[in-house]
């Protein structure tokens, strides 16, 4: 009887540890994505990025460098854990190839659009991009035939209300504000699509390896294909040579690497719904840090809209009561 009890207690402790690690990973992923956002914006305040011309040049140069450097950080991490061979093995499987396809949508398209949105609409773009969970649920409905429940539909409506709230009052002196918001929506749509694509069989891959592939593919494709296409290769070279912006992008890459590692880990430990809900708290952190460190103005509409979007995103992905549910 005593051994029955002790094995039951050990198992409870193991389950609790696994769940706590999953939930903490999700929370850290949100915080570090907010830090990444702020650091990329900060890098854009240095030459040659601050005086670069063209709406797309800076977003693609910064997202390409950021993702590539994140990929390098992850190579160091996975190398330390003895998992470098896993990268080739994973790429050799169909789910690994789907991770690459997801990276192409989520990297050059979504990250580029997200940073373009930030450049044009400032911190307002952050909560708009958090509507990705809404699009993830929509695409899962269309492509995976996963019909949304009433709760999901309610969450979707709340997210849309939040997005409208944010746009209700445009900040003064932002001529490209609406374009920035549209870019943030493109990012959200693409991230939603990335989630659906990379979930094809992705559950049987080591998430730390999948994230490494994602960041490297995204960074290399953005720098070698997209950056030359928008005629920004000289800006890329100038940014690398300038020092300070490269250092900041190295730190933002580290934050992004930690964020993605934790997000994927949370998804695979406590399920995609809870993982995604905790991840979207980056909208809070992103706005918070931008107000704190970059002097962004905090208006009542952005505060109300951010809160509404995050609440809606949480309701889309999970029943909020599950977060406080007691372990059975």
């Amino acid at each position: 009887m005593k051994s029955m009890n002790s094995k039951y207690i050990e198992m409870q402790q193991l389950n609790k540890k696994f769940r706590v690690t999953g939930i903490s990973s999700g929370a850290i992923s949100g915080l570090t994505y907010g830090i990444y956002t702020t650091l990329v914006l900060l890098a854009g305040l240095y030459e040659p990025l601050i005086s670069a011309v063209g709406l797309l040049a800076v977003p693609f140069v910064t997202s390409g460098l950021n993702d590539f450097l994140a990929g390098l950080w992850l190579l160091i991490y996975n190398g330390g854990k003895g998992r470098l061979k896993e990268i080739g093995r994973s790429l050799n499987t169909f789910p690994g190839k789907m991770v690459v396809a997801g990276a192409l949508v989520g990297g050059p398209v979504a990250n580029g659009a997200y940073l373009a949105g930030l450049a044009m609409a400032g911190a307002y773009a952050i909560p708009i991009s958090a509507t990705c969970s809404l699009f993830g649920a929509l695409f899962a409905w269309i492509f995976l035939k996963q019909k949304p429940t009433k709760r999901v539909v309610l969450g979707m409506i709340i997210v849309v209300v939040g997005a409208i709230t944010i746009n209700w009052v445009k900040p003064e002196g932002s001529p490209n504000f609406t374009m920035g918001i549209i870019c943030a929506f493109i990012a959200a749509v693409s991230w939603g699509l990335e989630g659906v694509i990379s979930s094809y069989g992705g559950s049987m891959l080591d998430t730390d390896v999948a994230v490494n592939i994602r960041e490297l593919v995204s960074g290399i494709v953005t720098m070698l294909i997209v950056v030359p296409l928008v005629a920004a290769f000289p800006l890329l070279v100038g940014t690398v040579k300038a020092g300070m912006p490269l250092l900041l992008l190295g730190l933002s890459g580290l934050s992004a690497a930690i964020s993605f590692l934790c997000w994927y880990k949370a998804n695979s430990m406590v399920g995609c719904a809870i993982g995604m809900s905790l991840n979207v708290t980056y909208a809070f952190w992103g706005v918070f840090f931008c107000v704190l460190f970059l002097g962004e103005l905090l208006t009542p509409t952005i505060v109300a809209g951010s809160v509404i979007i995050v609440l809606g995103a949480i309701i889309v992905t999970m029943n909020p009561l599950d977060l406080i549910k007691k372990e059975g």
């Binding site: 002790s6 696994f18 061979k85 093995r89 499987t93 169909f94 559950s203 891959l205």
Partner: protein, 98 residues
Amino acid sequence: MLLPVRTAVLNYLYQAGEADISEIMAALRPMYGTEKQFSKKMFMEHVMSLEANGLAELKSYELNQKNELELRYQINADGRVTAEKYIPAKFRQKGGKS
């Protein structure tokens, strides 16, 4: 080329039906045993993640002589479908007794 380790764990469960972590590690040791990632902690994470993703289920658990938990997992219907869909047949047939 070998399968990624987590996929190989699912593949072993597909072949064996059910197994504990020590059995899985013993079966995969000839292929992956020299790698730094080959540790009980990592295999615990692999099987628990497969469980969290709905591909396997915990069947039973016991304390061993060292007072450590020995977890026994079995593949479920979704795990079988996923293995058949994404693991090439040449890997699934190796010593397969599904």
